[in-house]
Assembly symmetry: C2
Homo-oligomer: 297 residues x 2
């Protein structure tokens, strides 16, 4: 039996997975299950089979999603920005990361979205999802294009070509903000000020949303992401919302840049085809606990 652990010894070290015994004591909590697939590459990758969670994908030791609750993460990531604008306003969407297709699956539910590009650096992720997580795969759709590429470089090229998007979703692993300053996560550059300066050029009037980890255990990721957004887009355009993802250990944070009209109010009919999202939940998601507010000061 393999043992995998979500480790959170101190704030800022992120969630780590350890294979093999003995289990270290300073873990947040630990997932026990059978590893049914593992491989190396740009990122180490494990698929765990678990009686409660279904299947779990781990990247670089971090739980990415489970089949049992990924719908919450993806619905909050996609429907809150999309529903914050009227029908027909969001036509072109870029997903940085998101090679698991979960965000694309939700976006494709909107007939007025015309083009969706996924830019994921790791070719193994879509392959693994096709084989082990078929429920994340949308049906064939000519509006969707998957590019295996570094989103940072793609965005640089797009900016040179003066391309524009209405919505950019940064759906990546958590960044490393460890005390040692080590950078092992490929996603790290997607949290930088330089990247957001590029996005501002790519989506001058667009919405930009970034997942920003679970603040109860990693409040420095929230602080850092929020600070970067405020520097680049200005305080008035930056919002924080949350969604409870049980396998992450509770509320995950999302930072949203929205110009003009407040994103707190939904502006189009809700979809029938959701399991988490409603208009009421949309509005409530922007109310954050006092201990988060203090991080954002």
């Amino acid at each position: 039996m393999a043992i995998m652990a979500n480790s959170l010894p101190t704030e800022g070290k992120g969630i780590r997975l350890i294979l093999g015994e003995p289990v270290q004591k300073d873990f947040f909590y630990v997932y026990h299950g059978n590893i049914i697939h593992s491989e190396g590459g740009a990122q180490t990758l494990y698929v765990m089979e678990h009686p409660f969670w279904g299947r779990i994908l781990f990247l670089n030791g971090t739980l990415q999603f489970t089949t049992r609750d990924e719908f919450i993460y993806h619905e909050a990531l996609v429907h809150i920005p999309v529903q914050a604008r009227e029908e027909g306003k969001i036509k072109r969407v870029l997903i940085c990361g998101g090679g698991d297709f979960g965000a694309a699956r939700e976006l494709l539910k909107y007939p007025d979205i015309e083009e969706i590009i996924i830019a994921d650096i790791d070719p193994h992720v879509p392959e693994i999802v096709k084989e082990y997580f078929p429920e994340l795969m949308p049906g064939e759709d000519p509006r969707l294009k998957l590019l295996i590429t570094d989103a940072y470089k793609l965005v640089e090229d797009y900016v040179k070509e003066k391309k524009h998007f209405d919505l950019v979703i940064i759906d990546s692993t958590d960044p490393d903000i460890s005390p040692e300053g080590k950078t092992i996560e490929l996603s790290h550059s997607l949290f930088s000020q330089e990247f957001h300066e590029l996005l501002k050029a790519l989506a001058p009037e667009g919405l930009i949303v970034q997942q920003a980890a679970t603040p109860f255990t990693m409040k420095n990721v929230l602080a850092w992401t929020y600070e970067t957004f405020v520097k680049v887009y200005g305080q008035d355009e930056v919002y924080c919302y949350r969604a409870d993802i049980p396998s992450f250990g509770g509320d995950n944070a999302y930072i949203l840049r929205a110009q003009g009209e407040t994103p707190i109010e939904p502006r189009r009919p809700a979809l029938e085809d959701t399991k988490y999202y409603t208009h009421e939940v949309h509005r409530a998601s922007f109310s954050i606990p006092k201990f988060w507010q203090e991080v954002l000061k």
Copy 2:
């Protein structure tokens, strides 16, 4: 090293803790730490020392609280009902369970509350809290009385004596709603229709709040508690709200009976002395995910 596990093999079996190896695979997730105190009695009781969570109290194998996030559970349990009414409206409060003092600690922050009675069946709980969890203990206060007694019987007596309360808080372990119908939890009777009929007589115009477990893993506790409230108090007086408690694995449900004015709107100034609660969070707490709504239909 002791191993303790939060088990959630199927909905309805609740969270269980297992001591010793091997860890069973069908657990939600597992807490690993050192057991620094254990004892039997009406309920088995363990105190775990954990590098991330601080100290954890387990009753009958179920995690009750951790020193790191108990503030969220207790603030949501207490401040949402109290703030739902104007100053001076809530003077007499009964806590059924709550021998850990956490709810009483929050109630005592309101100078207009005149009397607080804790009725806990297990004498070990307050003793353990005094020794291992001093941060839950309020200072000496003549308004607070602890009774070691079965809350069910106490309420029967109070109803005979025609006593009245403005607020009743049921702060107990989760009930057993296992497929086998086994009842091992002392709290079980506090979720029954008979008990709520008594509470209706005890607090005819009062607020009544009951913690109702984490619906993502135990949605039948939510369904059962809500159904009981609706039967006894009528649909119009029953509300459901939530708070994310990371060590519970996300959102916990609370069922609230409130007559007349809606409890969704806070009606008194928020306290400075909270770490989770704000008026915005108060309002947002009543917006629940679509998959909870479906359980309440």
